[in-house]
Symmetry: C2
Subunit: 342 residues, 2 copies
């Protein structure tokens, strides 16, 4: 059976995340119910077995150890091959799984995936791509936190990877790629951004130049390139601001007149839908792009539904051959061009 | 008459901003109506005179030139002393005004203010402090865009200045200062943040360590320190996200059932108040901290009401002696400490 006709096989780090293993297992069971995915739960068999009904088609792969949430990347790498995360990654490396999902220590995930899977030729560093809701449809931000200190050529590579992802997985025919800066004019920005923009001009993508913070949710571009520091701040700020706006609305309704309260009651389902639209978790896990294998980073606080979303995101990365798309686009990119401005 | 008993004299760059001079003049007239402020409109007298009623107590100071919105800082500096911005800044330098407000080219404002007013002893660079609404009350973010490439000791100085501002102007007894990073643990962050945090530990302020994007609107700190690149992205992202949330709510209401529409109608005044609370403009102009004089940067798109807010912000910076507070706090800071980690 060729890869295209097989159900995607998703290896899941069952021991990673704030609510592991119970919520991770439940998420895998929910995903497996679709019948479209093969799930491999990697972790402590004694703890996992009681959570998995005998009738389910979820397989368990025993891993004797696990990586602590606060382990440093170098600590995580030592003895990783006996841990739930390391073994799940190795299943992908060895062709026994098509993708790996973990809600555990994301620095450890990044380090283990980088060392076990390696990057695609021409890509220096993997980047976390976050998909966020925006006006008229989702947008991609990368790097959302993998690399806090970046070189300009890495940012340019992120642009190429983001374009491949938006095309392959989000189905955007000709994704517009922008680089986040502090003004639209090309001279605005820090040294890193100005150099990266000049490399992106020569990449085989539709690069629209500098974009600003206000352009993200206005969907001025489909792909927003930035370093992992700024990307992480953007992601967490958006989460926090959406919560704050919700609280302000709730306060206004609570302290309002009888009419306001009646209005709030009638509008409740609509406001619930708003909250769901803005809820970052429902958008599923964030892919780690640039590796020779599909890796999906789930939120540390992921519950069963967020895990199901992350597992589905992994399956669609497999079906849409994200790794192949990136390889193809990078192969058409003159990498020397990406390394230095003219 | 001593400074404390005099009405604050605010010099206003009447020619700066997208809606100059009409909206700038109207903002000055609104502010002058309060009777608590003396306003000096600096700009082309021929254009300003027809906009100012003879009965008003707004004074006009003629400036023959103006700085273009797209002038580079170095272009702006050449011949600045004949421009509306340069002359307004010089009024503060020469003691003829207590503060200056401009909605014009902010890079030019920064450069002219830096060269004409100079920084407070011990401060390397001025920073833009933005006051944003957050849970339970306003917070301060700095630098909101003055310095896109920062040194760690500048960030530490921003923390000291932000603390003085939050205390003096926002009236927070013991402001908590945090530095924006990608994780709460001290080891998380880029090289710049880690070094700045260790300097802030030894400053005479209440430094709470690393904070994250999600902590801004949750009001985990009163003062959020970051470089001008990240600060600018945060500011503009928040503006854009608030607009997006408003649009999503409006869409849900518009496309909803009759009951939802009725609810939306009843809840309208509450939702209008929410929008106003989140509207960054009503929080007035952003002070440029660290200079030997009060400077307030108004939004380029400022209308008369935003200008009035910015002028009031300038007046309270004068009344609360922000410059004096910063000088005092900086004088108690061992500046060598701020320059190197142990």
């Amino acid at each position: 059976l060729s890869a295209e006709h097989r159900r995607p096989r998703i290896a899941i780090d069952a021991m990673g995340g704030d609510h592991a293993p119970a919520e991770i297992v439940h998420g895998a069971l929910l995903a497996a119910q679709s019948g479209e995915i093969e799930t491999l739960l990697v972790g402590d068999e004694r703890r996992l077995r009681p959570l998995v009904p005998a009738s389910s088609n979820v397989r368990i792969v025993h891993a004797p150890k696990e990586i602590a949430m606060d382990a440093s990347p170098s600590q995580a790498l030592r003895g990783a091959d006996e841990t739930s995360l390391g073994m799940a990654v190795n299943l992908v490396r060895d062709g026994a799984a098509d993708a790996v999902v973990s809600a555990g220590n994301s620095g450890a995930f990044l380090a283990v995936a980088l060392f076990r899977l390696r990057t695609i030729a021409g890509i220096a560093r993997p980047a976390i791509a976050a998909v966020l809701p925006a006006k008229g449809g989702p947008i991609v931000i990368l790097d959302a936190g993998a690399n806090v200190d970046c070189r300009p050529e890495w940012l340019a590579q992120f642009g190429v990877m983001g374009s491949a992802y938006a095309h392959g997985v989000l189905g955007i025919a000709d994704p517009k790629v922008g680089i986040i800066s502090v003004g639209e004019e090309r001279v605005k920005g820090n040294a890193q951004v100005i150099e990266a923009a000049s490399a992106l001009d020569r990449a085989p993508i539709t690069f629209i130049g500098n974009v600003e913070g206000k352009d993200v949710f206005a969907h001025v571009a489909d792909v927003f390139v930035t370093d992992g520091f700024v990307g992480n701040v953007i992601l967490k700020l958006s989460e926090g601001l959406a919560t704050f706006v919700g609280d302000v609305v709730a306060d206004e309704f609570r302290s309002g007149s009888a009419l306001t309260k009646a209005g709030a009651f009638l509008a409740k389902p609509a406001l619930r839908r708003v909250r769901r639209k803005l809820d970052y978790d429902t958008y599923g896990g964030a892919p780690l792009l640039g590796l020779r294998g599909n890796c999906i980073v789930a939120h540390g606080r992921a519950n069963r539904y967020a895990m199901r979303s992350a597992i589905f995101a992994a399956a669609s990365a497999v079906r849409e051959d994200v790794v192949g798309h990136i390889e193809e686009l990078v192969s058409r990119t003159d990498l020397n061009d990406l390394k230095a401005a003219p």
